[in-house]
Symmetry: C2
Subunit: 218 residues, 2 copies
Amino acid sequence: MGNNTEVYWHEHMVSRAEREVLNGHKGCVIWFTGLSASGKSTIANTLDHKLSQNRVHCAVLDGDNVRHSLNAGTQMLRENHGNDFAERFGLGFSAIDREENIRRIGAVANLFSQAGMIAITAFISPYRIDRDRVRNTLLPGEFIEIFVDTPISVCEARDPKGLYKKARAGELKGFTGIDDPYEPPVSPEMVLFGGEKTPDVLANEVISFLKHNAIIEK
Amino acid sequence: MGNNTEVYWHEHMVSRAEREVLNGHKGCVIWFTGLSASGKSTIANTLDHKLSQNRVHCAVLDGDNVRHSLNAGTQMLRENHGNDFAERFGLGFSAIDREENIRRIGAVANLFSQAGMIAITAFISPYRIDRDRVRNTLLPGEFIEIFVDTPISVCEARDPKGLYKKARAGELKGFTGIDDPYEPPVSPEMVLFGGEKTPDVLANEVISFLKHNAIIEK
């Protein structure tokens, strides 16, 4: 809707390839997955920092900027949109709601990559099928799944927000790794050992991968 | 979740200001609103084309890239996610579904602007309250509401997809301007006369506005 004629429209569309030439790098989705406190967000932000310094255009999607807006819960929606709306559209933590949470994040990451950006996502995303569905919305090579393979003992020892403690005490239900499964990727593009190396070293490993695969320049 | 320590996290976060310095322009949301066939998408794509040529980083959100993924309808979700999921999360055209449609688009546009990009949206977005809710998620100056004020007679004469014809025949219900209201903005940042000037001229008017308001360089 809104375009005068199809010809006119296509004449002025900026193709993804043109955007990538302007940016000097390709667009893609870097999808971190792993347990809570495995280091996903820290590595994602370190990577973003290093790439941005190098004039690579990135955007990080994580719980901080997604759960408060795009994927807001019932409570958050109630104030601005009223009860009926909040009940209908608020996302909770049921299986189906988690599926929708990941689906939307995947759709947004895809939009960023279409805009020629490197979208970096940092969500536990414990279920294989949810991650594979996102992969299937992208072309081969555009979805870079990175398993942050940090032993649960290390994650639990870190426990920056006391979530493992609460889950062990039964105060948090359905917590990944405790009473809900984490399904590791079968053939991820990369595995990072988050219990053995620093975020700085791990972010550099990702950058080497991006260079090797001609997503960014050497 | 996932960050080792708060200190480490903050150390490596790329601020929006840093992104804007790297990009050489500010991030914002340019929100086109107007009747179907008023010219929103054509102007949006022309603007995107001109800005991209000038190394300004943009992303266009419109029906083409949003209704098929982020805001997919029931039918589209059914294939990949099954019936229950599709019924729960598919977006239709009811009042509440349209509200959610605009809410999500606003949230994504906001994410793009946070990443230092110029997000350009082209949706009828007929209701004032929906647009104002998006405005309220952004800081003053970051939401640039542009009313594409094309007379309905002109839109109806264009009717590229035959939607007005169907609406007049009663085959399409709730069509904006025919049997559903369009609420023009009370004080939009810009008004473009889509029935009088070419998309090229109108896109240039927007660029002048962006320069005048120091969002892009002169």
